[in-house]
Amino acid sequence: MNELRTIARKEFFQAITNKGVLIAAFIFAIWFPVFTTLGILAGISGDPGTALAGHLASLSVVLAIFMGYLFSADAFFREKKDGTILTLLCAPVSLRQIWEGKVLGVATAAYGMTILSVLITVAVAFAFSPVGITLPWLLLVHLAIILPIYAAASAGIIGAAQLYLGMRENQFLGMGFVFLFIFLIFGLQTFISPEGGVTVQTELFFFVLGLVLLLIGRRWAGRLSKERIVRTIA
């Protein structure tokens, strides 16, 4: 447990002190949600609280996935760039523990950035909405439970893929992965709850699917061999 915390703490601080990644994260966290929210507010016909909550619920999941990808890609690629991966693999921790520690640290940073984005978006919405907005309590559940799962699932699957592929800096692959992730989630959500919004049904769907994706990443990382990593990074 100590080793897990040690790895997670390092990854978290590395994530929040990487200027390049932080700038990209800030741009994506503020620009994209604020402008789409202003667009939503301009076209509201029904209850603004319900419309905004539905929008925020979907948007924040996309953000959490993207932030997970952004921080995770850096965390795993850095091991190859700095040449630290072999030394880390020789430490008395399993490959799965390394993956778990990294995912925990990276997902914490990604989740923090997503929450910051949601708060800014809500503040902008309240400031520019012509009518009063009351957000449903389920949105809090969404922010507190669903988002960290998606940040971790995204970071975890990207991380396992990086380990599998020799930690190459392949942005096309990463972005392709992110979009596949997002289309999968929203495709399935449309199938389960065509009306969208934040309902107990959609939250349960998000929760179960997020957990399944997270476990897929964990299982994938656990089944990787050190030999594959050593030989693919060479």
Binding site: L88, P92, K226, V230, R231
Partner: protein, 310 residues
Amino acid sequence: MQAIRAENLSKFFDGRAVLDNVSFSVEKGEIFGYLGPNGAGKTTTINLFLGLLTPDSGRATVNGVDLGSDDEARRRIGVLFENNGFSERQSAYENLRYYGRLYGMEDPDGRVDELLGMIGMADRAYDPVGTFSTGMKRKLGIARAILHKPEVLFLDEPSSGLDPDAQRMVRDLILSLSATGGMTVFINSHHLDEVQRICTRVAILAGGRIRAEDSIARLTASGNESSIWIAFEGGRVPEDALLSLRSLPGIAGTELEGEGIICTLTGDAKAPDLISALVAAGYRIEEVKKRSANLEEIYLRYVHTGEDAS
């Protein structure tokens, strides 16, 4: 007691044998040099011991266990790879503390301070490693490898990139770790002079096979026990000296080296007889040295001729 053991170890990459039935062992507390040209399979051997690769046949064990399947056993191992393996944006202090905690040290700060002081880097403790020179990173790498006081230490080219002062510091450190701490040290190196100074035994690997394995004293003694070097008065080799020497009985070969001649004697020839014969022939001799082969000559012989000590 054996600390490191390879038993009939073989490893193939894409159908090519990188290691072919390699066997050797290293006793506890020994400083063992593992020599070989680039691509001979030295790093593959270390990776097999560390559990980073799986052997295709045979066994590689450290302290009697396979490190690939025993996470806890790796707590007693220290390692320094050729690339130092530091997070470039973290400070020296943060890097060492991180690895200390990974190796189960509850409070590594005191030990980190001690090691940074020992390698003369206390004043750079809080600078990012990315700002360090190659030599500084190397010294820091050695500090990290011994941070948790391992029983067995694997060092891949430990002196690479170090200036002579730092090389001496590393040599002294390795010797003291073995002498006072009983640490077993396995060194992969091309730096033959360094290996000759600090290692008790060596193995020479070429073409994926062990060509020789013995103590340095025995290897060098077996290499050239019957050679002497003769220097003549005035610091110059007389023009006819080489021809005269070759005509004497008991001379297997002659060759110029520096300001003298190396004479290789046949099995029954004696150096005093040769010197007496030269003096009788009118040559004025200033210096005679019994010449033993150095590790470099032994290494080159096994690597280039593909000769096998066995």
